[in-house]
Symmetry: none
Subunit: 139 residues, 2 copies
């Protein structure tokens, strides 16, 4: 059902950001951009773990924290679902939280490659000029 979701999740084992946080970020982001809608079922902890080649406990940890945040609902023996009424924090808050996470990751990885702040800003500017108002680019 949500094969599309598990396929669009990407984790970087080399990142210094823990795997379980990477999963949390991407789930929240896909809710914010409506790739995931209320009521949607997420992959089982074991299915997603196999997809990402990681231990299912790591996925379970992500799901548990998302559940505690009220974003999803985990039900033992049933599965995990996007909360019907997603407003524990408001979609606008979730949306801005996602952008912060994206910016944070960009800076973190760029710094890891040894780039200066000016270079990080410059390359962003280049991309803003290259990517106009269009959305869908094959990934």
């Amino acid at each position: 059902m949500n094969k599309r979701f598990s396929e669009s999740i990407e984790i970087d084992l080399r990142s210094d950001l823990p795997i379980y946080l990477q999963i949390i970020e991407q789930v929240k982001r896909q809710i914010a951009d409506e790739t995931l809608k209320p009521g949607d079922q997420l992959p089982t902890v074991r299915a997603l773990a196999e997809e990402l080649r990681i231990n299912f406990n790591t996925v379970a940890r992500s799901y548990r924290m998302l559940d505690e945040a009220g974003v999803i609902s985990t039900q033992q023996g049933r599965g995990t679902y996007i909360t019907e009424k997603p407003p524990p924090m408001g979609s606008e808050h979730l949306r801005r939280e996602s952008l912060t996470a994206l910016a944070s990751r960009y800076v973190r990885e760029a710094r890891r490659l040894g780039f200066s702040f000016d270079e990080i800003r410059q390359y962003l500017q280049d991309q803003l000029e290259v990517q106009p108002e269009i959305n869908n680019e094959g990934e």
Copy 2:
């Protein structure tokens, strides 16, 4: 798994060369002569430390510096592996390509969330102010 590796590592406690540097050199050498191949897992810091009768922090230090050099990938809770791409970002060209890819992704995902260019720039600036400068020691 890499018993062959740990058995073939030899350190000299009387050498004026620090232990952690001896380990680094031998790992690099075994990668050069293909005793160690990309994807191979190295012994755990504790296993190698016990083998060499030294403190596991010393091995951890070697692994950390090799990780910063891009030679290996240390992953907390998982282990350490030889980097898939053996050339540790030697060329400036590859390094800049990586930054372009990171910037491109940031812009693409942010646009997908519906943010304006100004917001994308602003959130990046916020992160640049939050994330500290890293002290590059070694190499």
